[in-house]
Symmetry: C2
Subunit: 134 residues, 2 copies
């Protein structure tokens, strides 16, 4: 079921500082910051040869990463996104095995314009997993 | 400087349970558990098409992930490993920019038999970064 690692998302308190560190200190190619108000984040893409890292800063009053940053003020590793070919088939298999899908269980359109689901971290050993249909 | 994402390491309290979940629930190809006593972990490799996830369970009395699991008993995302072409050049650049290398600053031979370094998570927004020379 799991396909490619689409991205690893890192929550950061200050995306300008983090972006500069990934570019200047770590020597990576980084995008310009993109505000995604409908997803409650500003994102910078760190392009690696085989996948990407996404730096996420909270945007607006209901950011999905606000609680994480309140608990981890320095920032930290927030989630891993895996690609799947058929998100409804993946969802149905997961639910049948007892795994919990966050929200109402229906895929939403994610920050890349594709259907996504998040799985409960308690069911996957403390790691928040996003599935994205590509 | 940063090359491929070599792996994402997830600390788990029970590697047999975690390995089964990645195989049966998430449908991924997983290796047999490998005990690495000199690194203080038992590892299962989750093979994805473009990179890999490593599930790590503490092994022995001085496991480098014991403190993390004491703080996060369910498990969680522990570090990201990026490949670099020249680890000494990378280290020298990082130190020159003020980033802190953990330990004595010299590369050690990591779990894959190659030179590795870890960077202080406080310098990278709460994310523990491993560099591996490949």
């Amino acid at each position: 079921m799991l396909g490619r690692i689409n991205h690893i998302a890192l929550a950061v308190p200050d995306i300008a500082t983090a972006s500069r560190a990934y570019h200047e200190t770590l020597g990576a190619v980084v995008s310009a910051p993109q505000a995604l108000p409908e997803h409650g984040v500003t994102v910078v893409f760190v392009e690696l040869p085989n996948s990407k890292v996404e730096l996420l800063e909270p945007l607006g009053d209901a950011s999905p990463i606000a609680a994480f940053l309140a608990k981890n003020p320095d920032g930290g590793m927030h989630h891993i996104c895996y690609e799947v070919a058929d998100i409804l088939a993946a969802r149905n298999h997961l639910v049948a095995t007892g795994a919990r899908v966050l929200g109402n269980g229906e895929p939403k359109i994610g920050a890349h314009g594709k259907p996504v689901l998040f799985l409960h971290p308690k069911d996957f050993f403390g790691t928040l997993i996003e599935l994205e249909q590509v």
